[in-house]
Each structure stands twice: as structure tokens, then as C-alpha cells.
Symmetry: D2
Subunit: 343 residues, 4 copies
């Protein structure tokens, strides 16, 4: 191989295109060598845009290519676990979008294959790499806030997905809250032991009809005593609402939303500003670059990845516990679902 | 009687003094006619400061005075219910500090006496009259936020009370959260049906030794479907933290802390401002005036008081439910404690 | 005299009423003994409201009263200088609203009388006592900002006065900017040596027809090298805009507007809050109390007043220089108008 | 030529590298075909980074290349005017960094050559393309603020340049304020007629020894009556301070600084956040992309460029007037320097 890390990209949809551009234009130490998609035209278009020499006919073709060092799995969720197993057996390092799978059994198979092969695995919890949440984490990890006591995460989408998507999404806890479960563990640096869910259907009755909820407050009790909440809504009319706050014994640290500009207009009616960034691609632009840079560094320097397979597994356990709590209207211990380590 | 409302003040401690000054200096329609305290010197000092002509030897002397139209009960909590009964029987209108009592039985006796006498009763939940919370309530009540969906109240004290006080306080839920229970009902305009408490001792082990908690997150389910949380801490190092946020279908409304000044200093290290107002007397100064103005108006114009006896009772039911939830580690329906109406 | 400072109030208009209430209700060390007004009914109404025993027939009656220790001159500007002379001759300490007079000759006569009598004189530049500006001053005076370099004052009224008032006001620089000239000296702690005015009529042509301007940017060069600006407008549609900012070698300190509440509403169109406090009585409420407290303390403790006669004179020199600069379209040195000391 | 715009880059220093990356990675309609620098290794390094096929031996080689459609002039200021003349004669469209030259004579020669050749010319006033200032401009241009009345621009650098640079920079007004002169014209949409400068040496005596100033307040009178100020400092300890505010008859619009994150830490001492973005490359990242996108569009679609040669010339006239005002301590009309149109 040449001195750059040669990367194959599986999936040329929205997130695959973002990662391809990052590899092509932002990370000099990596090279986008090959791309594939079930829609070959989508793959070809991204290849042309990003100067990717090879459009592969299938993921197998990428995994068989001895020049490929690592793969980015950006295909649909139901293919993640299988592709991790295949890529691990092929000896490729793996970056995989979240979630690994909706079932712990499939996740455990994937993680076992990774362990056996000794390859790197990083899960795409990009929000850890956002400057705002990273700053709050730094305040906790660096001791600036003292002993953490209370945590609040607000995570609201600007608009609900179509009901058709809701049906295959695994439900809000696996599809949306999964990011917040990861954020909670990341910010506090301790595991959650018990979850209590208060949820309902307030945004769209079709979501309820599909058996899901669209609004929730989830209470988390951590092993280190911290108590936290996650506030989720599928629809905040003012846009994408992404905040977190940690109270500690020495200070609190809270982060607010990001805006397209800092301009304020004062009229005869009110003092106002434009709405927060509305789309996750705009809100989290740099986090996608940062997470891939961290992955490339981990592979090149043979360091642990910052978001491991276990980090991908535990939020699924939490999502299952949150759902069970909602169904049974009682607090549920994560141990009722699974041990946090994989089999 | 003259055209001003003649008021007798029972209790010349911290809050009695504040109310006496308000009656004397801020409310032209009311006249502070008489004051009493178990410490006669305290009563005399406030009388001198506020131009109160009569220092009564006892509350009975005030209640017997035919020139007195209304009384302010500012004595210790354990005397509230008995004084309400006595004042009602004497035909005096009553403003009483919160809580009415720690026991529902005593509350119900008091409310029964008020009902029978047909006098006005207002409970001292002053925060409803704070301009910040009133603005959030206006956004909900006026339809500005559409259908309410999620509520968060942050209510943290700057420092814990001494352990000696904790023992007689009735516990954090009755002593401190009681304000937040009222605020939750006030902001949403619907009753809470179920409460789930996650609480712990994070601030001071002596509070735990006294059988109480000092940190809590309380989840509220309202009859109208709204889900809410109350975040309490006995100690936020940066000061008195009093915020609320309501998400609705048409907008959200959130209120932030109040500061002693609007100045920002930008140094080579950070951009910073002075800490929020640290003391409830400073933070809520105007709310104490506003609540008494509303009481005086209610009596003079024969209107309902804005915070009724039932408004004083329900937060006690909520506090008892919150404690039970903490003890039994499960959600507790308010109906398990009591019906919301009094006997 | 009794142990309280006995105060006579000359003028029962808007500001006289505010000061009477402060003396009556907020300053236990002072007693409002007497009040007078050219409109006796106005004086009687304030007397009733504030418990003032004596309504005097004239200012002379107050000045002749041996029980009066100090007077507050709250009458119209054209009477200030004469009343200062009279009060000084009567041996009364004097608090006088700004400006002392529009002519330096009359000011100097007044200050001479005060010097000769050895009484205290404080001028009503209340904004120095506002917590926001006081915080910026503290940052300068305490060394927090290092050596001051640049100053900006924004001072905009919510609405212009009627043209009839404009004609007798002495013009915007003497009527409105006078506060900002004082603020500039107060914040920087150095004298201005040269002024350059760029001004125009942008709000109301009637103001121009009356020979005045309604919008201005005034550049100040201070003896200590600081360069500053004052931004004035007679009409900011969003309300009363009162800000200041000082850049220093070690930090900057800036203060923002005050709002009736801290609530923010986020709709589908914008993130907004209610307009800033719109009326100077609301914006500067506490500053009026603080300035009188300082006056009462200065008299009782025989200390210098915090805003002296010279502090009242220099802003008039600055206003005359600002007008001259506007008329001649060139920078004008204050020395062209007058020495800063009085004759 | 192929369908992409082929671009030659003259100068591979800091800004040349930024523009090369933009052309290579962010603008699909443009192709970085060739690059040159007086330091061939610098050119080769950027070429390798950005996939530029040809490293030219000189600017002449680029201008002689018939495949090149347009050039970016990113070399030192003293070469700008000559290169514009050469490029215009070669029939290349031109993007040139600011300023065109320090002398109006050289600027006029350059603009004449451009006019004669009929090529496009855009000057690199990137701040117009910053989302914050663009939003304020939109409020003015779209009528949101009504008739503009007052303008304030704050523009402070985090640290002064070395004295060696100061000597060749043309002075602060030509080197630093030039951006603010452009911003003033851009925001208000009217020409400045008269300038008054109050300036001094407050940051570094070496700058004074080099004959320059490091701190200034510049008053601008516009043809449409607006009055504005520019506040410049070579050193704000808290970082790069870039703000603007326009008061209009219907509203005001103000924009604040940009920060690396939105996190706030509340300690027992203060409520604080990290310093604003400190480096112009970070603060204005997207503006550099936006300005080149606009240039590429103007060439490809044969539209006027958004920042013309005249837009490059007028700020130089303003800088010369500002200096003359400082030297002569009087307001200077731009007409004393030059007509605003070029010869």
C-alpha cells in the first residue's frame, strides 16, 4: 500500500457522500480508493465528484481488494452487522454508521468477528466530535465541574420522519435517542444502570399508529450516582434543538444551539434572531470530519478507536430498556436486558 | 373601616418584614394596622420601620380587632393551619405563607374553616408573580406556544440549609420542591397524575443522615398528556438557579436567570459576567409586591384570589407522592395519596 | 433636629414624586419634612401619598424652615441656579437635578454661592448609580481592564420629545447628551479635551425646524489619550437603548440593555424576546434610590458628594463644545469654551 | 477548454493556499489548473496537496497558457496592479486580493487595462460574504430596518503585526481599515463623503515610531445622510473582534462575534465562555469559499462580479482621506483626495 490509508466506501447515500468528500478533500492521510452502492449510478456520481478511481460492483469486491486498508460502512442499518463480519474476516479496519443492529445477538456476532480478526472498529457517533459537546465533556473529564451530579440532554428534531420510515426504524429509542444514550455515557463517563421512560404521541398520530412514540423524557441513573434526563421530540417548530448541561460540585457546563449567523434584529415588536441550524448536516458538519480523522489516526498509529464496538452496543441495550420501561411503566435496570459486555 | 384595607401581620421574621414593607410603602390601597410576633422586639422593630401603629401582644389580639380586614400569616409553618382556622372563624381574609401544613388532614381542616366562613384565602406561591415565569405562563395561556408538550423546571438553591433545619423542614420535597410543584401546575394549567422521583444525596451527607435527599429529578405526567421534569439541587455553586422551559406545538418559551448587572468582561482567558442573583429576596423582590397587590385587589374587589387553598393543598399531595416514589422506586399516582379536592 | 435628615422637596412633578417616595419609603435615615410646587395640588397629592406633614406655599418657606437640613431641587431647569443660590445662602445642603443651567455664567454664580456657604451640593446624574454602568466603571477603576483605550456610549431614547419641548430644552446636547457627557467622564476618569460632532435630523423634521438635531455621533478625545464616541438618537423603535463599552489593555467591559423579563420564545420564524425596558423610570429605578442614599450619607457623614458642582458644570461645557463643533463642522477644544474649573 | 473554469493561481502563500483548496475541493465548477510562486517549493507543496497538475515557473507562464480562463492574484500587494494589467492584456478574468495598490495612479492604470480588455475583475473583500455581515446587509437592503441612520463597525485584531511589517503595510488605514471601509459602503449602500479620524498609538510604541497608528475611531458621513463610525485596534486581548450594527427607522440590526463553541461554564466566580475565534482564517472560513464561488459564477454566467474594481479603488481613497484627517486633525472630504470614479 502507499503511505496514505486506502479506504473503500460501502454505500453512496447521504452519509456515504459526506464521508467520501471528507476522505477526498479534508484528510490528506487518507485516500478514497473505491466506492460501491446498490444503486451504481449513485456510486458513480460520488466517485466523479470526489475523484474516486474505482466504482466497485459490490461490497465483496471492495473487501477482496488487497489494496484497501479500511472500509466505511454507510449502507442501510440492516446490512451493518453482516458487513462488519465480512470486513473483519477480510482483515479490513472498519468504520460503521450507527446503530450496528437492532438486535443484540447480531451485534454480538459482529463484535466477536472483530475481536477474532483483531481489526479496528469505530462506530459513527459523530456528536462526540462536535465542538460544543466536546467542550462540555472536557469540563467534566478535566475536573472543571468537580463531581458530576445532574445531566440534561435536549435532543429535538425539526420534523418527524415519514410514517413509512418509522415502521422500519426500530422505533424512536433505537433510531433517534440512540445518539443521546451515547452522549449521556460520553459526557458523564459512567454507565447507566437504570432507565425510566415517560413517553407519548404528541406530534403525529400516524407515529402512534405505527406503534412508536414521538415525544419522551427518559430518566437515567448512572453507576456513579449521577441522575440524568434525555428530552426527545420528533418536532421542534423552531428547528434542530441540540443541547446538554451538566451540573457538578464545582461548576456547571451547558451548551446551546448553533445559528447560521450572530445577527440580532430589534424591531418595534421584539428583539430577534434567525432560527438555529435546522439540518443535522449543517449543525454537525465538522463532527463528521473529526470522527473520520480520529478513525484514520487510530488505524495509522495503531491506537484504540475513540468509539468502540462496545460503545456501539450499550446504547442499543439502553434503547431496549427505555422501550421496556415505556411498555411496563416502571424503571428498568439495564441488567434486565443484558450485561453491558458482549457475550 | 377607612377606605384602605386594614391589615394585621402575624409574624415579623424575614418574610413578615418584607410583607410589612410592601403594605406600608408600595400598596396605597392597604394599611398595615397591627403586627405581632412571638418575639415582641422583632414586631416592634418592624412596626417602627413601617409606621405600624399597633404592636399586638398575640395573634388573638389581631383577630379580635374589629378594624382589621385581613391578616398575613407569616409565622412558622406548624402554626399556619391553626391560624387559618382561627382567622377564618374571626371573619378575616387570609394571606398565608406556603405550605399550609405538612399533613393533608390539617390542611383540610383549614380549608374547611375557610369555606365555612366564606373568607378569601391566598397562599404565598410568590413565584407565579415573577415577571419571568409570568411571561412563560402567558405564552402558554395565550396560545403563543400552541399545545404544550414538554416542561422543564430547574430550581437550585445556592447553598443547603443547616442539617438542624432539614430535620424540621418536612424534607426537600415539602420544603423546596413545593414551589416547583406549584410552578408546574401554574405553567401548564393541568393537573399532574403521576410522579416518578430519582433522587440522591450529592451535596451534604448530613442531609442524608437526617433522612432527606438534596438532589432530585422528578418526572411529572399531566392529565393533558404533557410530560415534565423538575430538577432540584440544594447547592449550585454559581448561585440561585431558577429557570423553566415549555415546548409546545407552535413554539417554545424558556426563561433564564436574573443577574445583578448586564456587564460582560472579556479578558485574555474568557468572556464572563457576574453570577446570577444569589438570594431569593433579591431574585424575587417584585413578586412579593405583586402577590400582595393581587391579594389586596381580590379582597377589595371581591374577586377570587389567584392562588387558592386548593392550590396550596395539591403541591403537598405532589410532595408526598414524590417522596413515596423515591422510597418505593416506582412511579406513584397522585390518586394513591389523596384525591386532589379536599374532603 | 431629630436624628433623621429632614428634607424639603422643591418640585412635585415626575422626578420630585420619585424622590419623595424614595425618601419616605426607602431611606430610613431621611425624613421628607416638607414639599412645595408651583401647582399646590400636585404638592398636596405627593404629600398625602408619602406622609409628608407639611405642604409649603413656596420654596422660600422651605428654605426659611430651621428644621430643614437639606433640599432636593426638582423644579424646572430655569429655576435650578437661582434656587441653589438661595438654598446655599440659607445654609441648606442641596441635591439638584441636572442640568444646573444652560449658561456657564449662571452655573458659576450657583457654584460660588455653594462654595461660600460651605454646604454640600450633589447633581442628579443618576446613571452613575445604575448597577450596569457602575460595574463597567468598577472594571476601569479597579484595574480589571488595564489602561483604558476606547470608549463607546450608545444612548437612544424610545421617542422624541414634542417640538414645543425641544424649543426650550436647550437642544439635544444640553438636554439629552448631557447624561452621556457625564457618563463618559465617569467611566474613563479623565477629562475630555476635544470634541467632534457629526449630527443630523433623521427622526423628525420639526426638530430640525426648531433649530436642533435628533441624531448624533460625538467623538471625544480625553486627556489620558482615550478616544470615545457617544451615539445619540431621539428615537430607537425598539425602545430605550442604554449601553457602554470600554476597551482596555487587559480586557474590555461592556454592558447591555435591561429587559422586563428573561423569557425567550422560539417560533417557526425566529427566536425572540420582549423589548428592553422602555421608560427611564423603569430602566433606572434603583439608580434614583442609590443617588439619594449617597447624598444622605454624604450629608450625615460629612463626606464629599459623589457628583459635585464641577461635575454638573463640565458636561455643560461639553454640550456647548459639541454644538459649536456641529455648527462649525470641525473639532472644538473645550478650552475654546471655558476652562473646566469655575471662575 | 473543458466545461470547468480553468484557474491559474499566482502566489502560494497563506491566502493562495486557501484559495487553491477551495478551487480543488469545494467548487465543482472550477479546476485548479496551474500555480506559481516566487518560492517554487511553496507552489509545489500546494500543487501536491490540491492535485494541481502544473507548477508554473512564473506568472507569465500562466498568463500565456491558452487553457487558463481566469487567474487568482494572491501575491504581495506591490505586485497586484502590474499583474492585473498583464492578466487583462492576456484576456484572463481576474480575482485579486485587496488592496489593488497603495497609489491611486497604479490602481487607475490597472482598472483602465481591465476596462479595455473587457475581462471580469473581482477584489477580495471576503467579509461581504460572511454570513453575519451578509445578514445585516440583507436587513438594510431588504428594507427590514427602514431608512438607515447610524452605523458602527468594530474591527479589532487579536495582536499587532511586527513593526517590520508595519513599515511596508502602507499604514493601518490601508492595511487593516481598508476592510472596514469596504464594509461600511457595503452595509449602507451609499458613498462616504467626509471622514474624520481620531487615532493614536496605544498598543505598541514601535508602531508609532514607524510613523503609524494602532488605534482609531473614524467618523463617516455618507451621501444619504447616514453617520457611521469604525473602531479599530491592533490588539484586543480577548481575540478577533468583528462586529457591526446599523440603526434604521424601522429596526436595528447588529451582529456579534463567533465562538469556537456555545458552551458556558458557571463557576463560583463567574459565568463564562471560551474566547471568540481568534484567527481570521477560522473566523472567515466560509467567506473565502463564498467569494470564489461568486467569482466563478460571474465568469461562467457572464454576470457582473459582486466586488468590482471601483469597489477596490474607493476604500483606498477613504484610507488616504482618513490619514489626511489624522495628519491635519480636521474632517476631510473624499473629493479632496480624488473623485470616486477612476480616471
Amino acid at each position: 500500500m502507499n503511505s496514505k490509508l486506502n479506504i473503500g466506501i460501502i454505500g453512496a447515500g447521504r452519509i456515504g457522500k459526506v464521508h467520501a468528500e471528507t476522505i477526498a478533500f479534508r484528510l490528506p492521510e487518507a485516500h478514497p480508493a473505491s466506492i460501491t452502492d446498490i444503486n451504481p449510478e449513485a456510486a458513480a456520481a460520488v466517485a466523479a465528484r470526489c475523484g474516486i478511481a474505482h466504482v466497485a460492483a459490490s461490497s465483496a469486491q471492495i473487501l477482496d481488494d488487497p489494496d484497501i486498508d479500511a472500509v466505511l460502512i454507510c449502507s442501510s442499518t440492516d446490512t451493518h452487522a453482516g458487513l462488519i463480519v465480512d470486513a473483519a474476516r477480510a482483515g479490513k479496519h472498519i468504520f460503521c454508521e450507527k446503530p450496528i443492529a437492532h438486535s443484540l445477538e447480531r451485534i454480538d456476532q459482529a463484535l466477536e468477528a472483530v475481536d477474532k480478526a483483531g481489526v479496528k472498529l469505530q462506530i459513527g457517533f459523530n456528536r462526540r466530535f462536535d465542538a460544543n459537546f466536546a467542550r462540555v465533556r472536557a469540563a467534566v473529564a478535566g475536573g472543571e465541574i468537580g463531581a458530576p451530579q445532574l445531566l440534561h440532554i435536549i435532543s429535538r428534531d425539526p420534523a418527524p420522519p415519514p410514517a413509512s420510515y418509522v415502521k422500519v426504524s426500530g422505533g424512536m429509542f433505537l433510531d433517534m435517542t440512540i445518539h443521546d444514550f451515547d452522549m449521556a455515557r460520553f459526557l458523564i463517563g459512567s454507565e447507566v444502570e437504570e432507565i425510566y421512560t415517560a413517553a407519548g404521541v404528541m406530534v403525529d398520530p400516524k407515529i402512534g399508529a405505527a406503534g412508536d412514540v414521538d415525544t419522551a423524557v427518559i430518566t437515567l441513573r448512572f453507576a456513579n450516582g449521577v441522575i440524568g434526563t434525555i428530552d426527545n421530540s420528533r418536532k421542534a417548530v423552531y428547528g434542530y434543538d441540540q443541547r446538554a448541561e451538566v451540573l457538578g460540585s464545582a461548576s456547571s457546563s451547558a451548551t446551546a444551539n448553533c445559528y447560521p449567523n450572530q445577527a440580532v434584529v430589534s424591531t418595534a415588536e421584539s428583539v430577534r434572531r434567525d432560527l438555529p441550524l435546522n439540518f443535522f448536516m449543517d449543525r454537525y458538519t465538522e463532527s463528521f470530519v473529526n470522527e473520520l480523522r480520529a478513525f484514520v489516526d487510530a488505524v495509522r498509529l495503531d491506537k484504540p478507536t475513540p468509539v468502540t464496538g462496545i460503545d456501539g452496543r450499550i446504547p442499543v441495550v439502553m434503547a431496549l430498556a427505555a422501550r421496556k420501561s415505556h411498555d411496563e411503566r416502571r424503571p428498568v435496570r439495564l441488567a434486565e436486558i443484558s450485561s453491558l459486555a458482549h457475550a
